[in-house]
């Protein structure tokens, strides 16, 4: 059980790095690059990014998010210092700052997973032409996907603080 738990935690961190790394790639690199490519009328344009890069990045992104959540949930179930229900009830009544901290991290990660699969991916399919959509629907999808992605970038900051605070304490 200990080996399984440690391998699970290792996989959770690897998948989490892949997920949040790609989230930061989208927000800090791809979105500004697409804007620059659209504005550069004499350049090659954004088509190659949309056709070859974005679908691959989104594939790794959404499944890394899923693996991160599943391995995190399993860890909460088997790690002796935590419990799944205790974390998701924010450790209320337990007087255990580590449990409350990992609970906040778990909730933030869960909201982020919801945003990936319910808001970002379905709208990205419309934007990239993988699902049928009118121009007006694409414009709406672009805004919803953008704001969900930016929301996740914002939430990742407290989420990562709470994930490490479960073991190392809250820094404030």
């Amino acid at each position: 059980m200990d080996s399984m738990m440690m391998i699970d935690r290792w996989l959770h961190i690897v998948a989490g790095v892949l997920w949040i790394g790609l989230l930061y790639y989208f927000n800090f690199v791809q979105v500004p690059a697409l804007a620059a490519a659209n504005a550069d009328k004499e350049g090659p344009g954004p088509a190659a990014i949309s056709k070859y890069v974005a679908p691959r990045a989104l594939l790794w992104f959404r499944y890394a998010a899923l693996v991160t959540w599943v391995t995190g949930a399993y860890y909460l179930m088997v790690a002796p210092q935590y419990s799944f229900m205790g974390a998701f009830s924010l450790g209320i009544g337990a007087h255990n700052v580590g449990l409350t901290a990992i609970g906040f991290g778990a909730w933030l990660g869960t909201i982020m997973l919801f945003n990936v699969w319910v808001l970002i991916w379905p709208n990205q399919k419309k934007i990239l032409g993988l699902a049928p959509a009118t121009d007006a629907e694409k414009a709406t999808a672009r805004r919803v996907a953008f704001l969900a992605s930016r929301t996740n970038t914002m939430l990742s900051i407290p989420m990562l603080m709470f994930m490490q605070a479960g073991v190392h304490g809250i820094p404030f």
Partner: protein, 31 residues
């Protein structure tokens, strides 16, 4: 103006949220 429309606004919003939630978490845990 939505702070999420800019990268600096997104990062500042995340830091502010982290600080606020940290104090909420400490209050819940009685720490």
């Amino acid at each position: 103006m939505n702070p999420l429309d800019s990268i600096p606004g997104t990062i500042v919003a995340g830091i502010v949220l982290a600080v606020v939630l940290a104090f909420v978490a400490k209050a819940i845990a009685g720490a």
